[in-house]
Amino acid sequence: MMNKFKDIIKKIVINIPNILLKPFRNINFLASIFAILSGILVGFLIMLIVNPPYAGGGLMTILFGGLDKGLSGIGDVLIFAGPLLLAGLSVGFAFKTGLFNIGVSGQMAFGAFLAIFVGVKWTFLGDYQWVVAVLAAILGGALWGLIPGLLKGLFNVHEVVSTIMMNWIAVYGAFVAYKAANLVGGTTQNAQKVTSTGALPSWGLDSLFNSHNIDIGIILAVVAAIIIHIVLNKTTFGYELKAVGLNKDSAKYAGINSKRNIILSMVIAGALSGLAAATLYLNVTGATYKIETYPIEQGFEGIAVALLAYSGPLPIIASSIFFAWLKVGGDQLSGWGYDPNIIGVIVSAIVYFSALSFVFRKVVKKIFKKQFGGEIV
């Protein structure tokens, strides 16, 4: 019995170098690293041009700022990562099914509204108020995704334009809705905070990471990622969605109902965005919903998260943590004399270089063939 156990341990230990090195033989991972390094380089160059002596310090802050506050810094990263993960999942899932979901912001906005509504007003639900709030958020996002889904499935309206329209409808609609529902908080132009029973519980994470703000948002996000991974890769539903996304005509030939799948994809993507809003706004001391004439920025950051991870649900977990890490570092940049918007520049550069990755992959494949003779996957 002990011997068998020893064998298993031996096997794992021997294979660890393989497991660690495996990502490096995967071309998508390398392409992502290339995109990240290029993006950070662009940011660094701008910092260098603008304020040379502090550029190095700025770079260090971006890269390692997360560690400055120790465990609670990690907690901050996880707090940021939750909504980013779900936003990325929304974009990535839609992408896998052939759709560009640029409407995460709008879906988050409507989900947020329903969630905040429940989280502020439905105190009669007691301890389960947050559960209903989360469900309301998911419902809201799903509905906001349903409309572009229907427009595409039934009327062939391109989802890039329709989802962006929905974003702006949500932006202005928020002004009207929050005022009408009496949810504008105090002296600010922002929404009210939800009650303590409406907020997501922390289930011990706050003492683990020494942080007031962390809650189970990140856990919900990771669970969602795992579920999406299973659905996409292991179920017939996922098979059909991917088929429609890759080749609508062949899917039709095979008897798959493209219209139905397109609509369902957008609904699910919207639901994920709604959940993102729940993890972002269902708190007492964390982020507040700002009623302003700009779409929610996490919606667009989600695009970067998804692209960097090539839309794979599990890699998205990693890329969302990476972007959250950048954000935490970025928040500390004003100390060095740089506006945190440089992070936005870096993120957009990373998106850009991800797009260039196709050529990058061809070049790397050639080099690998010449140097190592073997194939790279």
Binding site: T235, T236, K242, L246, D249, S250, K252, Y253, A254, G255
Partner: protein, 508 residues
């Protein structure tokens, strides 16, 4: 010998394949040189090098004895070389005139002098008897007229050396005769022609000499009048091939497919694509519907399989009315479908071979349980079919379909559809773009099906295939079935007349 064009030791490579391997081609002034080879032999590639679309890795080109560099179609045009492409390079929503002048427009202050151009086009059209309407849009004119536009494109540029790439693929036998006459006229005017083709009878009719390519290599050049079609075929394929396929006697059974008064309208223009058509297919027979591309074959198949809606009529499978059933239901009712376009409809190129092989059956209990896929079963199934149908792929069942060759992709589709054991097999131009070996294989499989008592509906554009494979032939023209003939008693000429609408036959 006065060679006007010499392509010496040309080698052109693409990733993973040597399309032209040390090929030599020499064209004499004032002759028609046929360039023969089966699909994939490298003929189009070689001519694309001559026309400047590709650059060869090795070899030189000489025009009138002088070595030249051809790096773009402009260089080729400057050397009076022009090409009529197999897949027309015409902009669909431009007019005929705009297409002809594109690239060599005459301008005043940047504005195109369209009136002058049209005058010149009409002159050329008159002189060479190539009737066209310069103001018509390409998308509104027939395929035959579109080809004339391609030819006029060359003449507008004072081309002396004309390359024709498989020009007769889309023409009726009568239009082919006209084209042959036009080509002979060009020769009389002192021009020289290279004719790419795989049709031996055309070579015999109009070519002086013939150069043969096989799998990228140059085999040789012969004088056409001293060579028989059989000898040409042997050079093309590398072994003796028989033109007639072995078919045992038919054993007809019940009616499997019955189509009654079918009418299909276009989704956009509401014009009828299929007009009040009826026919039947029985167990144990191959019914081939022949016709020129674009006469309704696609719409007919789409209506039967459910890819497009039906406006009137009835479709019965094994006596059951399936007219308005969904595509999935029709497939499950016993229809196999080898589609016209394997990339558009038959496969999902980014799926693996195994995933593609279960495209029509992933939802069956063999391959899934409670919505979760059974990957082991799917892989086993894939391996079984690979072995049975000899499908070549780089990584076995995990190969992405995109990286498989055209022939093997088609084999995969055939394997999948045959494995489902359908009562009716619909095969639409199943051998298009394949080499002789793959063509032979697919014909064998279809006849095997028919011998087993299944019904086969074959749509074909190649008269050879129609005459050899079919038990019964019907001809479609402008959405109607206009003739029904016995392959044993009809001729290519008669079929040509039916296909071009010049004659109508009796239907049983």
């Amino acid at each position: 010998m006065e060679y006007i064009i010499e392509m010496l030791n040309i080698t052109k490579k693409f990733p993973g394949i040597i399309a032209n391997d040390n090929v030599t081609l020499q064209l004499k002034q004032g002759e028609i040189l046929a360039l023969l080879g089966e699909n994939g032999a490298g003929k189009s590639t070689l001519m694309s090098v001559l026309f400047g679309l590709y650059k060869a890795e090795e070899g030189i080109i000489k025009v009138n004895g002088k070595e030249v560099k051809i790096e773009s179609p402009n260089d080729a045009n400057n050397l009076s070389i022009g090409m009529v492409h197999q897949h027309f390079k015409l902009v669909h929503n431009f007019t005929v005139a705009e297409n002809i002048v594109l690239g060599i427009e005459d301008t005043k202050y940047g504005f195109v002098k369209m009136e002058d151009a049209i005058k010149r086009i009409l002159e050329l059209s008159d002189r060479y008897k190539l009737k066209i309407d310069p103001y018509a849009k390409i998308e509104d004119i027939t395929v035959g007229m579109q080809q004339r536009v391609e030819i006029l494109k060359m003449l507008y540029r004072h081309t002396e050396i004309l390359i024709f790439d498989e020009p007769t693929a889309v023409l009726t036998p009568q239009e082919i005769d006209e084209l042959m006459k036009i080509m002979k006229n060009f020769i009389k005017e002192g021009k020289s022609i290279i004719l790419i083709t795989h049709k031996l009878n055309e070579i015999k009719e109009v070519a002086d000499r013939c150069s043969v390519l096989r799998k990228g290599k140059y085999i040789g050049t012969v004088d056409v009048k001293d060579t028989t079609p059989e000898q040409l075929a042997e050079m093309m394929v590398g072994r003796k091939i028989s033109f007639v396929i072995d078919k045992p006697e038919q054993k007809l059974g019940n009616i499997i497919l019955e189509v009654n008064n079918l009418t299909v309208l276009s989704n956009y223009t509401h014009k009828p694509l299929i007009k009040n058509t009826s026919f039947k297919v029985r167990q144990g027979e191959i019914l081939c519907i022949a016709g020129i591309e674009g006469n309704g074959q696609t719409s007919l198949v789409e209506a039967i399989t459910g890819l497009n809606p039906i406006h009137e009529g009835q479709i019965l499978l094994n006596g059951e009315d399936i007219t308005y059933q969904s595509i999935r239901k029709k497939t499950l009712a016993g229809i196999g479908h080898i589609p016209e376009d394997r990339h558009k409809h038959g496969l999902i190129l980014d799926f693996s071979l195994a995933e593609n092989l279960v495209l029509q059956s992933y939802f069956k209990s063999d391959f899934q349980a409670n919505g979760f896929l059974k990957f082991n079963a799917i892989d086993e199934h894939g391996k079984k079919l690979i072995k049975k149908f000899d499908i070549r792929s780089g990584q076995g069942v995990k190969t992405p379909a995109r990286s498989m060759s055209g022939g093997n992709q088609q084999k995969a589709i055939v394997a999948r559809e045959f494995d489902r054991n359908p009562d009716l097999m619909i095969a639409v131009t199943p051998t298009r773009g394949l080499d002789a070996g793959a063509i032979e294989y697919i014909h064998k499989q279809l006849i095997e099906l028919r011998n087993q008592g299944k019904a086969v509906l074959l749509i074909s554009l190649e008269l050879d295939e129609v005459l050899n494979v079919a038990d019964r032939i019907m001809v479609i023209y402008e959405g109607e079935l206009v003739a029904e003939v016995d392959p044993k008693t009809t001729t290519e000429n008669e079929l040509g007349l039916f296909m071009s609408g010049s004659k109508r036959g009796i239907l049983s």
